[in-house]
Every structure is written in C-alpha cells, then in structure tokens.
C-alpha cells in the first residue's frame, strides 16, 4: 500500500528494461488457391505431429485436390539435438522443393 508520509525520502527511479532491437518484417502475400502449389511441412517431432499432419493434409486436399505436400521427414527435426544444423539447411531445402507455402509445428 503506498505510503502517505510526506517526509519519506523519494527516489527517482530508472526504467529497468532495455531497448528493443527488433527488425520488423511484413508478412508475405497469401495464396488464395493452393491447387498446383507446394506446401512443405516442418515438424519438431513432438506432440503427436505424426497423427496431426496427415489429418491436416487430408483437410486441405479435400478443398484443393491438386495441392502437393512435402513431408516433414524431408527437412529433419528443427528442434533438439541437430537444431542449428537442421535449421541452417531449411532455406535451401525449401528452395529445392519450390515451396509455395509452409506449415510449421508444433508449439504446444
């Protein structure tokens, strides 16, 4: 509870945080039609992705039958033992697969 004693010493206190140094990036325009497009999957090999990704594929294919998926196994586990090495290879692999869109998971 703040004190009301006017004879108490006062303190000029500094902001305790530090400057944010964030470079902002605008999102890439989306793809209204996924037919004939390539969607690549990235998975950190946890939280039942082996069950979830096939269901997501099924859902999207039902709406865009000519969509192509590149399975997460093509990219390796981007979280964990080989994280830095795997992450470093992802841009090149996405280019090689001609990725039009990417699904990343799983943060849970």
């Amino acid at each position: 509870m703040p004190s009301t004693n006017s004879r108490e010493p006062r303190f000029e206190v500094m902001w305790p945080l530090s400057r944010k140094a964030v470079q902002r990036t605008a999102a890439t325009p989306r793809l209204p039609d996924l037919n004939d497009k390539t969607v690549c999957e990235l998975w950190d090999v946890i939280f039942r992705g082996e069950t979830i990704y096939p269901l997501v594929r099924e859902y999207i294919r039902a709406r865009f039958p000519r969509v192509k998926f590149v399975n997460y196994t093509e990219f390796g586990n981007f979280h964990g033992a080989r994280e830095h090495q795997v992450t470093a290879t992802i841009p090149e692999k996405l280019r090689a697969h001609k990725a039009d869109a990417v699904i990343v998971g799983i943060g849970a």
Binding site: F11, E12, V13, M14, L17, K20, L31, F47, I52, V56
Partner: protein, 456 residues
C-alpha cells in the same frame, strides 16, 4: 524465419501457448499466422484429436495460408534506457514496478542513477555496450541493463564483474536462453570458482544453497530477475514463461576450493579447462534435484555406489530428454568429508566412469517415459541411426535391455562444497540441451584492488 524467406507460413500452436507465441512474434518482428489446437494434444483420444484438427486447427492453418496476410501488432512506445520513469517514495516505487511486471513479487532496491552508477564503476565496459539482442522480447543485453537489474536484486556494486560474466555466458547460443521458459520449468544455477569466492564472501560451506549470504542470494535472484525483465519470461498476468509448475531462483553456488586442493582434485572450473586461480562463472540449468545423498564408509566405492543409486532413482525418468538430444549434464555437489574419502582412492574421472557404468534404465521404460511426456515416436533405433546416441544403445532389440542413463562420463560435473561436518552430498540435473554448463572468465576492472579496498 520462413516468413522472412518470402514464403507464406502458418504455425500449429496449442491454445495454452498463444500468449507465448505473441511474445515471441513481437520479439522476432514477424507477424504470425496460425492454426490453434484447443487444449493439450497429449491427453486427447484419437477421436477427439481428429475432431479438434478438423474443426479448429486445420481451418486456421488453411486461413493462415490463403486468407488475409497477418499483421504485426504495432510496437508500443517505451522509455529510453536511463530515463527516469517515476519520482516516488519507497512504497510508491514498489507499487509502480509491481504493476508494470518489473519485479519478482518481492520488494526491489530502487534503481536510482546513483546506485546504478556505483555498479558501473566496477566495470571497464561502457554502459551502452550490448552483449547480444536477447530472445524472446528482442531486447538489448546492455551493460546498463545488467547494472540496473543488479541494483534491483539487492546485489552489491562489487558483484558487477560477476553479473556481466553471467549474462555473457547466458548470451552464448550454446546456452539457449530462448528455452528458459519451456514447460519443464528449469532454473539456472550460477557456479563460482576462483579467489573471488572469498573476496565477495560467497558461502561454500554449510547451508551453501540457502538464502542468507548476500552474494549467493542476490546473484541467484538477479538471474531470475534478468530472465523476467530483459528476456521477457514472465508468468501470468505476464506472458512468455511457460514453466508448467516451475521452480524459483537458486542461490549461486561456490566451490570449497581449499578442500578440493587438499584432497588433490581439480576444481570444477579446472575440469572445464580454466587454470587454477582464475575467476570463473558457470551457468547450468537445473530441472531436478536429488534428495540429500548421505553416504558412509571409508572406501570410495561405498559413497559412489550410494550416489549411483540415488541419482538413478531421481534422474532416470527424465533421461529420455537427454537421449533425444544427445546431451544432459548431472552436477554432483560432493560434501567435503565424502569427497575426501573418495579422493584417497579415485580421481574424479574414475567417479564419472563408475556412475556412467552403473546407472541404468531399461529401453522399454525410457521409451515409455518419452511417450508419456511429448514424443510418441521416440525410438532408440532412430536416435542411433541419426548419430545422436552411440551404437551401444541398440546393442540388442530386447526392450528389457539396460542402457546407460548418463550418455558420456565427461558430461558429469563434480563440485566440492557443503557441510564438512556431515556426510551429505546432492546432485542437480540439467535440462538436456537447454542451459548446458556454460562458463566465462570474470573480467575485473583495472582498478579492482583499489575499488575493493574503498568499499570498507
């Protein structure tokens, strides 16, 4: 990262992680499109999981790829480093800082310019020097931020060289400070070696891990405060810290180097490649602590056998996380009297070798624990094939085969400290690749001796 490549991206996020995702997104400066999985996938039936994917997650992902591009939230305007944000009484300062989520819930020392300047006198580095842009809020790890947090945590100005070394270690990408808010709720512990232990009055004897000695206590508090304020790992009503249950700060450890020298063992810092007499900090994650390990007898094996049994009971369950990543580091705090008995017969490497060979788990149990935690696809065969684990882990296909809990002997740390009048030790377990032991030499200012003498 992928969005920066110019490729539309949608992420799968559990509903319990939305606030953390928001913090990370702001820190990266990249807008996030996502599909949300309601609840926790690890506890849902196949039927419920399918329903949640079809009704919520997959539509969200599809919208994220095909709908309107996500927009980043506007960055809120903030004061500049060094700005005065309040002129108030002690109580008013506490209220103001608490409401802004700038404290750990305990009263802080008001960070006035005078107090912060006193800390800055204990370093030759400039106050605006930045060690790294830190995840997850994307803030500068500046010398000024270290001094300010040191003041607030109740440190003395002369701790400043230690505080800088700690943050420098935590800035090392190997340390992975970005994982400080992961759900296991691990906590860093700082380990001090060198003459600075006595110069700054660290407790390395009885009660070494209790609050009570200012150096140990305030430096432990400083680490948690820095993670909270500068890195952005805050529990609710803040965001960013997803420790599901978590633990509170650990006071800093210091080694009983006199005993280590007397019994002929290298210090913890020497084991890590530093010379005797160098001042060194090591930051080490702690996810689990054993019960007190009492051991008796005048032979080395009697004590180390007891350690193996108790560490096995405490750490075996979590071993699967080390197996998945190929790394985890137990740290033994060996009581001085116990260490003395062991050192008459065994080197530290022989202790490590014994523990490596004698702490075991069946492959079936380790697999079960991994599947219970997060990884239904856990497989020793896959980990060996990937080169993450050595081939001995698949020496047979028998699920009842015993595998080593500790992946390599050299991953085991040993530090001599604690109560010389009792036969007790304790062990601390790191959280695999999150917060592995990371060390830095402590750089003292040029006029350290004069400054220390003047403190009275």
């Amino acid at each position: 990262m992928v969005e920066r490549l110019g490729i539309p991206t949608a992420s799968i996020i559990g509903s319990g992680f939305l606030k953390q995702a928001e913090v990370i997104t702001k820190g990266l400066g990249v807008p996030l499109a996502m599909g949300v999985y309601p609840g926790a996938p690890m506890v849902d039936s196949e039927e419920v999981l399918r329903r949640k994917v079809e009704e919520t997650l997959a539509p969200g992902l599809l919208m994220g790829l095909t709908g309107e591009a996500p927009h980043a939230a506007d960055a809120a305007s903030e004061p500049e480093p060094g700005d005065v944000v309040l002129n108030g009484t002690f109580d008013e300062v506490q209220e103001y800082f608490y409401r802004h989520l700038w404290t750990d819930g305990l009263p802080v020392v008001p960070p006035t310019h005078e107090r912060v300047d006193a800390f800055l006198r204990f370093t030759d580095r400039k106050s605006d020097e930045v060690l790294r842009i830190l995840p997850q809020e994307g803030r500068e790890a500046s010398i000024l931020s270290i001094a300010t947090t040191g003041v607030m945590s109740g440190c003395r100005p002369e701790y400043m060289p230690v505080l800088i070394a700690i943050i420098d270690a935590m800035c090392d990408p190997i340390y992975r400070v970005e994982d400080s808010g992961s759900t296991p709720g691990w906590e860093p512990v700082v380990i001090i070696n060198g003459p600075i232990i006595k110069e700054l009055d660290f407790n390395f004897g009885q009660g070494m891990m209790r609050v009570g000695r200012q150096a140990n206590s305030s430096i432990g508090r400083f680490v948690r405060m820095y993670l909270r304020n500068i890195c952005g790992f805050r529990i609710a009503p803040g965001a960013g810290d997803k420790g599901s249950i978590g633990q509170s700060f650990l006071v800093a450890m210091a080694e009983d180097e006199d005993t280590a020298r007397e019994i002929g063992w290298p210090t913890f810092a020497q084991d890590r490649g530093f010379a005797a007499g160098e001042n060194v900090v090591t930051v080490h994650s702690v996810v689990s602590i054993t019960s007190p390990m009492y051991s008796a007898g005048d032979q080395a094996v009697q004590h180390v056998q007891q350690w193996a049994e108790i560490m096995g009971q405490s750490f075996t369950y979590w071993a699967h996380t080390g197996f998945k990543t190929g790394l985890w580091n137990p740290l033994i705090v060996a009581g001085p009297s116990v260490a003395g008995v062991i050192a008459r017969e065994w080197s530290k490497d022989e202790v490590r070798r014994y523990l490596y060979q004698h702490v075991k788990v069946t492959a079936e149990r380790a697999t079960h624990y991994a599947r219970m935690t997060s990884t239904p696809t856990f497989s020793f065969e896959h980990l060996v094939k990937e080169g993450i684990l050595p081939p001995e882990y698949t020496a047979s296909t028998d699920p009842e085969r015993l595998v080593n809990v500790f992946i390599k002997p050299e991953m085991i740390g040993i530090l001599v400290a604690g109560d010389p009048g009792r036969n007790q030790s304790r062990a601390y377990m790191g959280n695999h690749i999150q917060g592995p032991p990371t060390s830095r030499r402590i750089a003292l200012p040029r006029d350290w001796k004069r400054l220390i003498e003047r403190r009275g």
